[in-house]
Amino acid sequence: MEKRIIFFLILWTASFKAVAQESPTPDYRNFPVTITLQFQSFSLPFKNLGSNFKNMGIGIGTEVSHNGDHDWIQEFSIFWIRNKAMGNGLYLVTQTAWRPYLGNPFFGELKAGVGYKLAFRPSESFIQKEGKWLAAGKKGKGMLAIPIGIGLGIHDYSESVYSSPFINYQPVFLKGFNQDIPLVPETIFQLGTRTHFNKLIK
């Protein structure tokens, strides 16, 4: 199953460029409101995929295009994920996305970026001070996050308010988890929609 998914993704990625050159770029509107539903897991990319769906979260964000063709986009998002086993997490992420159009209204997406994860603990923690054990709550640690993503979406431009639904899969690497695991892998499935409001047309 996992091998088939990887094969599909490679094939699909390889087809981006050729298709992109054949398709006209539709109009685009900056600063949509992006709402996302996330499914996260502490796991290697394309491994143990089922465990993602035990840990759900929500997010909000926006984006702005880098060029006139609107196929280079800068995304900004903040999202929260509930993970009972490993602890919840709050993420602040910006990613540069290459979004070639596969044929109206579909687009593919490859992206990478940088972010920050504030990790919480799954249970109460304790610290000893002056010989006494004190409760230290569930707050954990802030870590540098490096997300890499692949996605697919629909961009059906309209003069009025319009929405652009999408799905993507992102391996995220966290730096400095602890002394023994310097780089921790996570994976995130993301479903979402970008709503482009009329008043923001420039």
């Binding site: 796991s43 035990k54 086993a85 230290a136």
Partner: protein
Amino acid sequence: MKKTILNQFVGFFLILFTPFLSVAQNQSACQPSNSEASIRQFAGVQKKMEDLVNLGIPGVVAGVKTGEGTWYSAAGFSRLEDLTPMNSCNLQYLQSISKTFLAASILILKDQGKIDLDRPVFDYLPTELASWILKSDQMTVRMLLNHTSGIPEYNYLPEYITVLLQDPEHDFTPLDYMELIKGKEPDFEPGSRYSYRNSGYVLLALMMDHLTGDHAKFIRENIFERLGLKSTFYQESPDYLEKSALVDGYWDRYSNGILENSSYLQKQNVKKMVGDDGLVTTAADGIRFLEALLSGELISQESLAEMKTWVNDSKGTPQYGLGLDLTTLGGKQAIGHSGGGLGAGSQLYYFPEQKTYIFLAINLATVTGSPIHKKAEVVVNELYLEILKGGI
């Protein structure tokens, strides 16, 4: 009617408090019967245990047996949430010290003529499992016991660790651990050098299952029951770790000195491990086992000599026998084993020069780094020096 209600109340309160009375009785029975002389002798050791607790280790248990007597003591807490004091009769996780029990049981099989240490493990495995482990026809039972087989390690694989931490309820079976290394080339030519491998002991447990029907039952019958180890437990039932006397475990998840209760994760992990881990015991039972093993009560003198035939590490230092580790603690030579897990660390050693057995356990994970560990290592060494400076 009133009498009936009163009776119901009395009955209710009796039911409610009976477990507490029972626990209270157990706790009083747990008070170690240390002699006045031993209390004076080991006052410095008690101080070192308190020092460990003051460094941020939740709880510590120590047991000492010399030719003159025994001393058992504890410091700190077995559970931080309600500040339950650590007690010397608390059950402790043995972690990798379990390997010594498995090795001893294999030597018992050897004494019974049922196994040859120098035959390939291939000969003692189910055909399908043997085919999973590349070069199992060149790996002898001895090589697996003394970590010279080169069998690939499952325990460090990211695909194992991520599932273990993200999905603690994942139903790992012993075969699942072997499936993680299925078809992988050995890390080096079997027998060519020493490198510690948990996988080897999982394979040996599966070998024993094939030979005896149930390796855990064999260990219980041939070691626990034979030595009267009434507070030592291993795979009696799926919930064998659900015991109130078992300490809670803690870990420093982010290596910043803040501890989290890891008991759930620890139990889920330990109860699914076979051969390389899985036992829990008390300090007294631990020492009883090692003493029986090294005095030839469990196995023949010939087999004991095999267990104490050391292989060298890469620096040429004698390192490991068959389920026994040769090391230096407190500046003295020690024979035994140590163990570490997601909520505990333990050491069980015999010091031949001093004719002294020592069991030491903490309920803080030793497999994830912590600033607490570095300072604690110094104090642990001082603790051994204190114990070994003289007899009772």
